[in-house]
């Protein structure tokens, strides 16, 4: 596009250097006007001669041709920079005299914002402007706005020096023709094009080969801001001096230390040991005449890939890194698009999120210039690179670190944490004792990394059954257990449990010995469980719905001493038959049971002896027993009592299968609090029956799995009768909880609080819980904070804390930690490991294998299972991360991502989303914008609802493959058609036109309808050619943005036709 004022004569031109072309592409692609717009602010003291100052800038533009240039594209084969004879940097003057300091500050902020919004056009000579603010008789401020593609930092100093020198000359009456033309930037552009890339290619290939997973800064919760933010941190002079001394002592440059520190920080924030960030360096080839005095963009951005080795000594690792960095810098002039092609990151995907700019060029510290009684002093620079995070380091008085970040990616708090971490890493290096390892650098402030427990720790209480005994003695007539047709007082419960305990002891029950409880859901079940505890033995609750073979396996595997059962149950060990409906459970009052005379019911109990065993499914398919002590159980019951406010007025519904450890909590925490336990009968109730019982039994507290609870929410909505009686607390746990359901429930039942709870059996039932307060910060409800006696840590593979917002393994320490898996020593040793964060020596913590992240409010978000990590095309990916990203899309209510088998037997990711109306193609395009290729699922299947198993968990086996789903899953089916060629030929006129343009630009005979532009070798510069050709062929509405978003001919054509481009 020609400038309107074509009166300017073009005196020189050269093709844009790749970095400029990249900036041009970015400025055309992004809607934000201020990408790469740089604002410098200066103070001018002294009596300023404004016409002379304007003339000085004109003269400076004469000396430095780039100040008279503009960028042109879409005409010739390549975009170019053209120099115009009479162009000058426009200067406007505003009179701001007489303003208060405050008013001036406000007006300046408004001016800077308006100036950014106005943007800057690269095709008008020059993409720069000056605004002079007269703030006093002898005081001015100067705003110099320019596009970064014009000048680098070094060149800015050259220009400023020239301006002030010329100001002096103008004032002194030196004639205009004395200005010597300076070095021509075009010579640098020519030099760059003349470089042989062969040597560089080997070095870069070696450095970048196999890199596939860009180091992303995606923290939870997702940032929701807009625009940019800026943070400044300054390492004081003593710290900076220490850092210099450390560098010198280890023969390191300051640049190496800074790059290394950033690599370590990114490693901790990404969880990857293979990190990559961009680094901007000066490219001033010494063999180019006048290069020292050349103004222009003589820098380049290179990808710095670092392998972080946590076990290596920091100084040694930094020296190795320095050697590699020096090699790379030697070949640092190659274009980024060319370098990215050496990686496995496709051209349409950003190679890095973080850019480091180390301003260590000569003149960087020069910030004041004077001439003819006027002193110009540099104040500050603001700019926007468009990268999620740009760190600019400015050495000088100390070390100044400027963090400029995109608020759409990082919120202010997250950026501040990253800034803290970089500062901490640098400070730690400066004071590093010899031998300090990379992994040992204190990058993450530890006090921010563990979720704080809900309340103060409880003291070690009495064993649970003793507490229940105390209550039975104090209030024997209080109701302990109620079913639809019976009830049992605390007194009767205690007495009958005592009688049964005596029989159990006669049968061999003893401390540490498990006793099975294979009793129908009834008051007898509670009697039997309490009886086992009274003997001192370990209670093993068995669900009568399970096959008897499985029951016998658990009895044998645990080494059970006896089993309490009724009916026809066969086992080789002692079976105590309590008869149907408890007919054979002695009530302990008539004195007819002789065993009571021979055996005391109560056995000795020590806190570290077993209270119960619970079987959980193992990854190998064999269930494994988890052994929990009295200390853990009693402390847990006390924590739960305090957390849920349980007391004698409460009535707690026990609903789940007794095979889950939640049943132990429901039974025993309830009774230990003196509350009434309501048991459902042997048959499952439908939601309406449950509603009826909740009202009839005046239940105050209950727990359900999410799936069943959703049905109850529906039933509540349909119920004619308002309210749920006395229900005050609904605990929903065991699986992901949808926030919309929480909101629906809260709207219908404002007096019933809901909490989401989480906990593995190995950490004694509930470990964390999250009370819903009307809003939810994450796509599914967080699992919240730990109970009082529980420590929760989010740790990386090195068992170090991960930063806030970063995924880590959920590890549980404290009183909650189970003893382990009896008979499985290796598995116990693997999962129960030394707890480096415990106050108590010798403590262990349990590695759950669950992935979560800490939210800024101190609660934890659950993300998935560690075991779910899979290798896709050799790259390690976390399907849960893809699922979390999918849930960010406004059209998606739920998402599951799983490894699946592709058409050729290879492993691919498959995604399942609700609702059924979601658009698979749009979702894949959405993911492509933020995730590495390997993390983008091969297909997306929309479902009306997720299939669930009988226990209310996701039924993975029932998820259909795309062909079974019978939908256009936006995946392999489309791609296969494209590969077939014929079926994929362009149909409409627009498609034919676009395919033709692509084929020409990409140098291919044929482009299929569904071929991906980037897969065919397209990159951002070839996109410019597509745009130029499209313009010639009069294809309306095509933009770079549209090309990025819709990278196939079919989708692009559709978008253009719908006007979505």
């Amino acid at each position: 596009m020609s400038p309107a004022d074509t009166c300017h004569e073009v005196t020189d031109s050269w093709p844009l250097v790749p970095l400029q072309a990249g900036m041009l592409v970015q400025s055309l692609r992004d809607e934000a006007a201020d990408i790469d717009l740089v604002q410098h602010l200066f103070d001018l003291e002294g009596t300023l001669d404004v016409p002379a100052f304007t003339a000085a800038w004109s003269r400076a533009a004469r000396r430095h041709p780039v100040l008279r240039s503009a960028f042109f594209w879409g005409h010739g084969p390549e975009p170019e920079q053209r120099v115009f004879a009479g162009a000058a940097v426009p200067l406007s003057v505003r009179d701001w005299r007489g303003l208060s300091a405050e008013a001036e500050r406000d007006r300046l902020a408004a001016l800077l914002a308006a100036d950014r919004r106005a943007g800057i056009r690269l095709d008008r000579p020059p993409p720069a402007r000056l605004t002079l603010l007269r703030t006093g008789e002898r005081a001015h401020r100067l705003l110099w706005t320019s596009h970064h593609g014009l000048l680098d930092g070094w060149s800015r100093t050259l220009v400023l020096r020239e301006v002030m020198e010329q100001y002096g000359a103008v004032r002194a009456g030196v004639p205009d023709d004395a200005v010597r033309p300076g070095p021509r930037y075009g010579d640098f552009a020519d030099w760059l094009r003349g470089q042989d890339g062969a040597a560089a290619k080997t070095v870069w290939q070696d450095a970048l080969a196999g890199f596939a997973a860009p180091t992303r800064l995606r923290l939870a919760p997702p940032a929701t801001g807009e625009g940019t933010g800026e943070l400044v941190r300054t390492l004081g002079r003593p710290q900076a001096a220490e850092l210099t001394a450390f560098a010198r002592a280890n023969r390191l440059t300051a640049a190496t230390v800074l790059h290394g520190a950033l690599a370590v920080v990114l490693h901790r924030y990404s969880g990857s040991q293979d990190v990559l960030f961009g680094s901007t360096l000066s490219v001033r080839p010494p063999d180019l005449d006048g290069v020292e005095d050349m103004a222009g963009l003589l820098i380049n951005t290179i990808p710095v890939r670092v392998r972080v080795r946590p076990a290596a000594e920091a100084a040694v690792w930094l020296r190795e890194f320095q050697d590699r960095l020096l090699d790379l810098r030697e070949h640092g002039h190659r274009p980024l698009t060319e370098l990215q092609a050496h990686t496995d990151v496709p051209a349409g995907t950003a190679l890095f999120d973080t850019l480091l700019v180390f301003e260590n060029h000569p003149g960087a510290a020069e910030d004041s210039w004077a001439a003819a009684g006027v002193r110009m002093t540099f104040r500050r620079t603001t700019g926007r690179t468009g990268y999620p995070l740009t760190v600019t380091a400015e050495p000088g008085d100390g070390l100044k670190l400027v963090f400029e970040y995109e608020r759409t990616v990082l919120d202010d708090a997250a950026a501040a944490r990253i800034a803290d971490s970089l500062e901490a890493a640098l400070t730690a290096m400066a004071g590093a004792p010899p031998g300090l390892t990379v992994g040992g650098l204190p990058v993450i402030p530890e006090d921010r990394c563990a979720p704080p427990p809900v309340r103060a720790r409880p003291a070690a209480p009495r064993p649970v059954h003793r507490t229940i005994g105390d209550l039975a003695a104090a209030r024997p007539e209080a109701i302990a257990v109620r079913t639809d047709d019976t009830s049992l007082t605390y007194g009767a419960l205690w007495a009958r449990a005592g009688a049964l305990a005596a029989r159990l002891r006669a049968a061999g029950a003893a401390p540490e010995a498990p006793v099975g409880v294979h009793v129908e859901r009834s008051a007898d079940l509670v009697v039997a469980a309490l009886a086992v505890l009274r003997t001192g033995g370990a209670c093993l609750l068995l669900d009568r719905a399970l096959p008897e073979r499985r029951i016998r396996f658990m009895l044998d595997d645990s080494g059970a001493r006896a089993v309490v059962s009724h009916g026809e149950f066969a086992w080789h060990g002692p079976v105590l038959d309590v008869g149907a409906n408890g007919s054979q459970v002695p009530d302990g009052t008539d004195g007819t049971d002789r065993t009571e005379v021979a055996y005391e019911p109560d056995g000795p109990v020590r806190p570290d002896e077993l209270a119960y065993l619970v079987y959980t499914s193992g990854s190998t398919g064999t269930p494994k027993g988890v052994a929990v002590t009295h200390r853990s159980l009693a402390t847990h019951c006390e924590s739960v009592r305090a957390a849920y406010g349980l007391g004698p007025d409460d009535c707690v519904m026990q609903f789940a299968s007794v095979a889950f450890d939640a049943a132990v909590e429901q039974l025993l925490a309830t009774l230990a609090a003196g509350a009434t336990l309501v048991l459902r009968g042997p048959d499952l109730w439908d939601p309406h029956e449950l509603l009826d019982r909740l009202r009839r039994h005046r239940v105050t507290v209950m727990e359900l799995t999410p799936d069943y609870w959703y049905q109850l929410v529906d039933a509540v909505a349909e119920s004619a009768e308002p309210g749920l009686g006395r229900l005050r607390l609904m605990n929903v746990g065991g699986d992901a909880v949808a926030p919309e359901q929480l909101a629906r429930w809260a709207a219908a039942l404002p007096d019933t609080r809901t909490v989401n709870s989480y906990g593995p059996a190995e950490a004694t039932i509930t470990a964390t819980f999250w009370p819903y307060d009307g809003s939810c910060p994450t796509p599914v409800a967080p699992i919240g904070r730990p109970l009082a006696h529980v420590d929760v840590h989010l740790l990386d593979a090195e068992l170090r804390p991960v930063p806030v917002g970063v995924p880590g393994e959920i590890c549980v320490g404290g009183r909650a930690v189970a003893r382990g898996y009896p008979g499985r020593a290796a598995l116990t040793a693997e999962r129960f490991v030394p707890d480096p964060y415990a106050a108590e020596p010798g403590a262990r913590m349990y590695r759950t294998g669950d992935i979560g992240r800490l939210l800024p409010d101190g609660s934890v978000e659950f993300l998935g299972r560690l075991d779910d990590q899979v290798q896709i095309r050799g790259i390690r990916v976390e399907p849960a991360e893809t699922a979390a990203e999918l849930r960010r899309h406004p059209s998606v209510t739920d998402a599951v991502v799983l490894p699946r088998e592709g058409p050729g037997g290879e492993r691919v990711l498959g995604a399942y989303v609700t609702p059924g109306s979601a658009d698979p193609g749009a979702l894949r395009a959405f993911l492509r914008e933020s995730l590495p290729d390997a993390m983008v699922p091969a297909f997306v299947v929309p479902l009306d609802r997720m299939p669930l198993s009988a226990t209310g968990k996701l039924d993975r086996a029932a998820l259909p493959l795309p062909e079974q789903a019978g939908t256009a899953a936006g995946g392999p089916a489309e791609d296969t058609a494209a590969a077939a060629g014929e079926g994929a030929a362009a149909g409409t006129e627009l498609e034919r036109q676009l395919a033709g343009i692509w084929a020409r630009v990409l140098g291919r005979g044929h482009v299929g309808l569904h071929d991906d532009f980037f897969d065919l070798g397209g990159h951002s510069l070839t996109m410019l050619r597509v745009l130029a050709l499209a313009r010639q062929e009069r294809v309306g509405g095509l933009t770079l943005r549209a090309l990025f978003r819709h990278p196939t001919v079919a989708r692009l054509a559709a978008a253009l036709q719908d006007g979505r481009a």
């Binding site: 003893a510 010995a513 898996y821 020593a825 116990t828 040793a829 129960f832 480096p836 010798g842």
Partner: protein, 74 residues
């Protein structure tokens, strides 16, 4: 870290309750733990533990049961 590709070295470690576990070789041990004298890959260490740790009950529990003449079977 449950992965087979974890090729780093581990130490077999034990605490005062004679509970065994594994820890990164060469890394400082948390207080209350000591090295049991076996170093190797993760699997190698776990196999060793499977051989030597025949009763996962803590030492104090085993001693307590002996004192009271309680049952020692698990």
């Amino acid at each position: 870290m449950t992965d087979a590709e974890d090729d780093r070295q581990y130490d077999v470690v034990v605490n005062d309750e004679e509970q065994y576990s594994i820890w990164f070789a060469g890394r400082d041990l948390p207080p209350g733990w000591s090295r049991a004298g076996h170093t190797g890959t993760r699997q190698d260490c776990l196999d060793h533990i499977d051989r030597v740790w025949t009763d996962i009950r803590p030492l104090s529990v085993r001693r307590g049961l002996e004192e009271t003449g309680g049952d020692s079977a698990a």
